[in-house]
């Protein structure tokens, strides 16, 4: 459905939904990639808006709904990495500087989630983005490699390394059950 807000250049190829629908459908994905990566709500929203505006300019090049989804994912990832590099957001805290919980955490514990997010925020950029695509977007290593334009074996080793770091950090206090 088109709204009064849609513009003339919203003309999408027949296989693609209108621009407003694309924004509604994918805003959670694009915003969350930026939010989970940058941990700055204002920056994440600004970045997500810029990604959609970039899509708006390239809408005529989109061939299908799947192409749009892949393009948004790829551009959001690369822009988030660029943004972090530009603003030197990494690391806000070193991985050793993240405090460990003193009591065992229950499944779905918000404190544990918060600690995990801070640990992820302290990971190197590439490892962090691979982890976000793996667990937020549920992509397999081959799909992550395609989005980030790196070899599959690099993604596999980045995922292994980041999981090993998280296990090591969490396992000390949370015991074997978490790993």
């Amino acid at each position: 459905m088109r709204t009064a807000m849609t513009t003339e250049s919203d003309a999408t190829p027949a296989e693609c939904p209108p621009f407003a629908d694309i924004v509604r459908q994918h805003q959670g994905m694009v915003f969350s990639i930026a939010w989970n990566f940058l941990r700055d709500r204002t920056l994440a929203e600004e970045l997500a808006q810029d990604v959609f505006l970039q899509l708006h300019r390239h809408l005529h090049e989109m061939q299908s709904a799947a192409h749009v989804a892949f393009w948004l994912k790829k551009v959001a990832c690369h822009r988030a990495i660029d943004c972090a590099r530009r603003r030197k957001l990494r690391p806000q805290v070193s991985i050793e500087g993240v405090p460990e919980p003193s009591i065992p955490a229950a499944p779905g514990d918000p404190l544990l989630s918060d600690m995990l997010r801070r640990l992820i925020g302290a990971l190197p950029e590439k490892q962090r983005m691979a982890l976000i695509l793996r667990y937020q977007e549920d992509l397999d290593p081959a799909e992550i490699a395609e989005v980030l334009k790196v070899p599959v074996r690099t993604i596999k080793s980045q995922l292994q390394r980041s999981l090993a770091t998280l296990r090591q950090k969490l396992g000390r206090r949370l015991g074997e059950e978490i790993v």
Binding site: T6, V23, F31, S32, W35, E45, F52, L53, R57, R167
Partner: protein, 112 residues
């Protein structure tokens, strides 16, 4: 699947940017200048239709002016080349006659 996988999925779950996000994006998209082809952008450089004729005439005048100057420069260079060639020929002729005279003098001395 380990508990760590579950906890990571929970920590990295998708979040919504808020109700007004779509509206804000569409407002910004509507404010963007319309996308134009390279031809339209080129034509826009010369402004409205009336100005295009003036700009075309100006460009043609400049082209003719520059062409005329270049043609005159070439003509001048050719004339200078011709003059230099003529001077060289005169010099050669004078040198030839002097040589002939010297040769005759030498022959006369030899006969005496």
């Amino acid at each position: 699947m380990s508990r760590l996988d579950d906890e990571l999925r929970n920590a990295l779950r998708r979040e919504d940017p808020g109700e007004d996000f779509t509206k804000r994006v569409l407002e910004r998209a509507a404010a963007l200048p319309p996308k134009r082809s390279w031809r339209e952008r080129l034509l826009a450089v010369f402004g409205p239709a009336g100005n295009r004729w003036a700009a075309g005439a100006l460009a043609a005048s400049l082209l003719i002016g520059v062409g005329g100057i270049e043609y005159r420069r070439q003509q001048r260079m050719r004339a200078e080349g011709e003059a230099a060639k003529a001077q060289l020929m005169v010099a050669m002729r004078i040198a030839g006659s002097k040589l002939r005279l010297a040769r005759e003098k030498v022959m006369q001395v030899g006969e005496e």
